[in-house]
């Protein structure tokens, strides 16, 4: 198993740093999957995570100037590592004006991702700050736990409102309630609602638009033949939603959510080079 990569371009470095910041806000530990072409940050929806699932995908070519990996075996040319994303984002914080960042998988005393940040210096020799981030190597027999989740058979798919507005509203609602109801219909309307003994607050968004989903096998999904005004709703943990919104540092090119009534809300946030899917299950 080998992995070494290098980023020299400052814009790519800052971009990658922002991605790790977002991931760090969403998961304390997660799985980093490396393939020849892509990197993935994965959180599988085990009960330990409170049932949330995360799938973040980047094309390595858009970030790294050099990228070499050799997986566990020729037929399985992939590496799965258990990582604390906060460690990675903290290491990259020191790289804001770096000349280059090298990342390498090492195994001196225990498996680590070694992040070496080359900083500019006044003298001829450069300063290098090295961070050794402990990682766990996930054996091949467990790789099935980290398969890409399929898009659920949703009742309603809708584009999200301006994230800035959504973030303000959800942050205030978080002071008032532990859970929030997201409801939306196929007429581009979405409501965020909280209800407690003290107060009820509902925020109404309109004209959001519903993404056109081509059905894969010609069968009607449960979203077809649906009354346009009828709302699909799910009641979710408000903190999970607030973490997702708070972690967004740059406006995505596309942001939408798919609601399976009373079961799960599937968020999809697409940037030019990164796609992030986040699954929040409905509260029992």
């Amino acid at each position: 198993m080998r992995f070494r990569a290098k980023i020299v371009d400052l814009a790519c470095l800052n971009h990658f740093s922002r991605v790790t910041n977002t991931i760090a806000k969403l998961a304390r530990t997660c799985t980093l999957r490396l393939t020849a072409r892509k990197l993935y940050f994965i959180l599988s929806d085990k009960v330990a995570n409170g049932g949330v699932g995360m799938w973040c995908e980047l094309c390595q070519g858009n970030f790294f100037d050099e990228f070499q990996m050799e997986g566990v075996a020729a037929e399985h040319n992939e590496i799965y590592l258990e990582i604390v994303p906060e460690n990675l984002s903290r290491a990259l914080k020191t790289a804001q004006s770096a000349k280059a960042v090298k990342i390498k998988l090492t195994n001196k005393h225990c498996p680590c991702l070694r992040v070496a940040v080359e900083l500019p210096s006044l003298s001829s020799s450069s300063r290098i700050v090295t961070h050794d981030i402990p990682v766990g190597v996930i054996p091949r027999r467990l790789w099935n736990d980290f398969r890409e989740p399929s898009v659920p058979d949703f009742d309603v798919s809708i584009y999200l409102p301006a994230l800035k507005t959504m973030k303000s509203v959800v942050e205030r609602m978080k002071n008032l309630s532990n859970s929030i109801v997201i409801e939306a219909n196929l007429s581009g309307e979405m409501n965020l609602k909280i209800e407690t003994d003290l107060v009820c607050v509902t925020t109404h968004f309109k004209d959001l638009g519903n993404p056109p989903w081509a059905s894969e096998d010609g069968c009607q999904s449960s979203a077809q033949d649906r009354d346009l005004e009828s709302m699909a709703e799910a009641c979710i943990d408000i903190k999970k939603l607030q973490q997702l919104l708070a972690g967004q540092q740059v406006n995505p090119t596309k942001a939408l959510c798919n609601i399976v009534s009373k079961r799960i809300v599937h968020f999809v946030l697409l940037h030019e080079d990164v796609s992030l899917q986040y699954f929040i299950p409905a509260l029992a």
Binding site: R172, N175, L176, L198, V199, C200, T203, H204, K206
Partner: protein, 281 residues
């Protein structure tokens, strides 16, 4: 959903209904008195008064006169209810609390009367939020009975002069001691904390002092934890009037100009400590 669609159908009467183009004109004033979760709202045709009390010793009032609102209608002689101020503030600032130039949240407030919740309709950028906040039985409030004829000493200061002093108050001191006198030190704030005592003096001819009417030397001590919240009002204000009566009761009145240049008032009243010990000068 335009706000006009929220108007009550004929037959439903609201004892209090009000509209405000910029909800910040209300929320910033309420923040200045937000040191307890609960507040009592008192509305007459003159406007709205929101009162917060603590420890039966300190009372803060925010006055938002009817002219601040675009519409303000009270159907009875007065309307009173108790409400959770933290919840009210979270609702008024639902679209965020930062004041971006050009954006403001429009507010419509309706209250049907005793036992009904307070309804808020807030709109910003086409997005509408509807809030229903439960109200409670109003509690009896303290009456400090502070009128101008009973005032012994009065000083009006520009707030910028006091801000630093209040922001840096030594909170390890249990009391804030206020001395007002026709003689030196004229106006002195003192604390007695773990590291020692600290005094801030304001001479009566200082540029910051707009008016100085002190007839008698008075030194009074107040629980510092009760007065510290008044810093929020001080920070918003341009002028502050400090008055004491013969018993040492303190009245702080803050003149606050909102974004549109309109003037509102917030006042704090505080009881002096009973053991008025010898002053340390």
């Amino acid at each position: 959903m335009p706000l006009s669609a929220q108007h009550p159908a004929s037959g439903e009467s609201f004892v209090l209904s009000a509209s405000l183009d910029n909800a910040r004109h209300l929320s910033s004033l309420l923040r200045a008195v937000h040191f307890q979760d609960h507040a009592t709202c008192f509305a007459t045709t003159n406007g709205l008064r929101v009162t917060v009390e603590a420890a039966k010793c300190v009372q803060a009032n925010a006055f938002i006169q009817a002219e601040i609102f675009q519409e303000f209608a009270v159907q009875e002689e007065s309307v009173t209810f108790r409400i959770n101020l933290s919840v009210l503030l979270d609702c008024l600032t639902i679209f965020g609390s930062s004041s971006l130039p050009g954006t403001s949240t429009a507010l419509r407030m309706c209250y049907r009367g005793y036992g009904y919740p307070l309804m808020l309709f807030l709109e910003e950028g086409g997005v509408v939020t509807v809030c229903k906040i439960n109200t409670q039985e109003p509690e009896e409030l303290l009456d400090f009975d502070f009128c101008s004829t009973k005032v012994v000493n009065k000083i009006i200061l520009q707030s910028e002069g006091l801000r630093e002093a209040f922001a840096e108050l030594d909170m390890t001191s249990e009391v804030l001691q206020i001395t007002m006198s026709p003689d030196k030190p004229y106006f002195r704030l003192s604390t007695f904390g773990n590291a020692g005592s600290a005094h801030v003096d304001y001479p009566k001819d200082s540029d910051l002092v707009e008016a100085f009417y002190c007839n008698q030397t008075q030194t009074n001590r107040y629980k510092i934890s009760l007065l510290k919240p008044s810093t929020k009002a001080l920070v918003l204000s341009c002028k502050v009037s400090i008055r004491t009566d013969a018993q040492g009761f303190l009245s702080l009145q803050y003149m606050i100009r909102n974004e549109d240049g309109q003037v509102c008032f917030v006042e704090y009243y505080c009881c002096p400590n009973e053991d008025a010990a010898e002053a340390e000068l």
